[in-house]
């Protein structure tokens, strides 16, 4: 593999793995505090799947990088500016509605992305996608049902879900805006052209929000800066402080 291809594949894997790591971490914060026992189980299950996928993506990133690092090194020893997740993933949980709306907006993209990656020219990528897409389609089914149930529930649940959508929607666009890494990955057949996923995504979330009696914001304004690390939110640093604490406080220890 050429040096350029290597760096494209490395960046691509970080973007996939940092999404699942950071979102998985956020979801795991719910443990023991969900509105009903079945949701405790489902949230733990989602977090577990996402952390499992992180092991694959960051493991591959570390292999490609070829500096003898592990997935754990990448997860626990990078600082915020080296993270490549979409900003959506690092936003705080808020109430249960905000957590599930964030999950739905992510799952719809994640499922479409993984489905496309099953045809990746890079075998190691399509192998991960094959495994992950099954989990993602289950996550999607569940988060979609919950968004519809709570949107079309009581007046209070409707209003909370609308507020969650209004807050989170500006973080959706980032997932579809290609930069040079994405263009190179598409050109080499590693990943799809990001914009090509948008039409299906828009149609899917429109159908869901209609069923949920929720209104998609008119503005397509998109916050960016997570996927290229240029400017994360203030929230990420706090998340990392928590997540990385043991590895930072006791460097070199084996756990």
């Amino acid at each position: 593999m050429s040096g350029l291809s290597k760096s494209v594949l490395y960046d691509f894997c970080l973007r996939m793995g940092d999404n699942t790591l950071i979102l998985g971490h956020r979801v795991s914060e719910w443990c023991g505090h969900a509105p009903v026992l079945e949701e405790d189980i489902a949230l733990a299950n989602t977090a577990l799947d996402l952390i499992g996928q992180t092991q694959f993506w960051l493991g591959l990133a570390a292999d490609v990088q070829g500096e003898g690092k592990s997935a754990d090194d990448l997860a626990f020893l990078r600082d915020a500016w080296d993270f490549r997740n979409g900003l959506l993933c690092e936003l705080p949980n808020g109430d249960f509605g905000q957590t599930l709306m964030r999950q739905y907006l992510f799952d719809e993209w994640h499922w479409a992305m993984l489905t496309a990656l099953q045809n990746s020219s890079e075998k190691r990528v399509s192998d991960i996608a094959d495994k992950a897409v099954k989990e993602a389609s289950y996550h999607l089914e569940r988060s979609r049902d919950t968004v519809i149930g709570l949107g079309d529930g009581t007046a209070e649940s409707h209003d909370r879900m609308q507020a969650a959508l209004d807050y989170l929607y500006p973080y959706v666009g980032e997932f579809f805006e290609a930069d040079t890494v994405d263009e190179a990955a598409a050109k080499e057949g590693i990943a799809p052209v990001l914009e090509s996923l948008r039409e299906g995504y828009d149609a899917a979330i429109k159908a869901t929000m209609d069923a949920a009696t929720l209104r998609l914001p008119d503005s397509r304004f998109a916050h960016k800066g997570g996927r290229n690390g240029r400017m994360h939110t203030e929230h990420l640093g706090h998340l990392l402080t928590n997540m990385q604490w043991l590895q930072r406080a006791y460097p070199g220890a084996s756990w």
Partner: protein, 330 residues
């Protein structure tokens, strides 16, 4: 064990002559190891005692998520985080099986939950202790799940069918938890000086609270005699505690850790260890609500329940709307 000091409602054991024909037939079934199923006739005391015991066990699984959940976001590796998530997910699942088993006795999960939240029902005293360093995740699996298994393995043979079947499912997962816990302890005990210190600190703090899980000596308890006759309690608290100590001390030695009990000594004659009793005054304080974490644990569960009210109501309203739309369409 997750059910401590469950009072049976019987006045003590009835003699055969005092039993009604129904009661005698019921006891005969139990003596013959025939399972009691929900639709079978059963004495009111049996039903009520089981609801308390299974409910307390279920609540322990639920509250037990909190001390371990405390470390999920700080787990030191991706693998450890995944294992811990899977474990806590299992515990929530155990709560679910057990609430289902209790529901077959005619009490709803919501009713039991209300009783937990307003303090009428208890959960195991162990979950009122804090988890303060990463080795606690090892010690909880090793000691707390280990003590739970001690109690739950015999309960697989308990007389009430749904409870027995729940125990069989649960025990498989609990032994996995215990192995994972011990694996963390191994890493810590063989690790850096700081890690060894964490491991010893965890053992120091959790040893006696783990012994308390079996409850105080019940040698003279009328409740225990009745529960044992009904086969909803299979061994005495002291027997289980002795078995636990005998199993655990060699494991601690293998780890190179010191059990925090100066009186601990092998007794050849009885073929088991002599050991110090836990501080039972402390135990009763914890049971009364004065443990280090009682207030925080109950507050966390109450907050989860209260904050989740709109979600439960919203999903219920949606289900009703859907059902109504379906009827209207027919």
């Amino acid at each position: 064990m997750y059910a401590q000091m469950v009072k049976s409602t019987g006045e003590g054991l009835k003699s055969r002559e005092d039993m009604s024909p129904e009661e005698a037939a019921f006891q005969d079934k139990i003596d013959a190891d025939i399972k009691i199923e929900p639709k079978d006739w059963m004495p009111e005391g049996y039903r009520k005692t089981l609801i308390r015991q299974i409910g307390q066990h279920a609540h322990s699984e639920i509250v037990g998520q909190l001390p371990e959940g405390n470390w999920i976001t700080r787990a030191p590796t991706l693998e450890r985080k995944a294992i811990l998530l899977a474990k806590v997910q299992d515990e929530a699942g155990h709560g679910l099986y057990l609430y289902c088993a209790a529901e077959t006795l005619g009490v709803s999960r919501d009713d039991l939950t209300e009783q937990l939240l307003d303090g009428r029902m208890k959960y195991s005293s162990i979950f009122n202790y804090p988890t303060l360093n990463w080795a606690d995740m090892g010690a909880v699996g090793w000691l707390v799940d280990g003590a739970a298994i001690m109690n739950q393995v015999p309960l697989q043979r308990t007389s009430f069918g749904p409870y027995s079947r729940a125990m069989i499912r649960i025990c498989k997962e609990e032994s996995f938890h215990q192995r994972q816990g011990y694996d963390i302890m191994m890493k810590m005990a063989q690790g850096s000086e700081a890690q060894k210190r964490m491991a010893q600190d965890a053992l120091n703090r959790l040893w006696f609270p783990s012994l308390m899980m079996f409850g105080p000596s019940d040698a003279d308890s009328v409740h225990s005699v009745q529960s044992m006759a009904w086969k909803i309690k299979m061994d005495s608290n002291d027997e289980l505690r002795q078995r636990f100590v005998d199993q655990t001390v060699p494991q601690a030695e293998y780890l190179g850790l010191t059990v925090p009990d100066e009186s601990l000594k092998w007794n050849d004659e009885k073929g088991g260890y002599d050991f110090s009793e836990p501080d039972w005054d402390e135990f009763f304080d914890v049971i009364k609500g004065n443990g280090p974490c009682n207030v925080d644990r109950l507050a966390a569960r109450n907050k989860a329940w209260d904050d989740g009210a709109w979600v439960r109501e919203g999903l219920l309203a949606h289900a009703e709307k859907r059902a109504a739309r379906k009827t209207a369409a027919e």
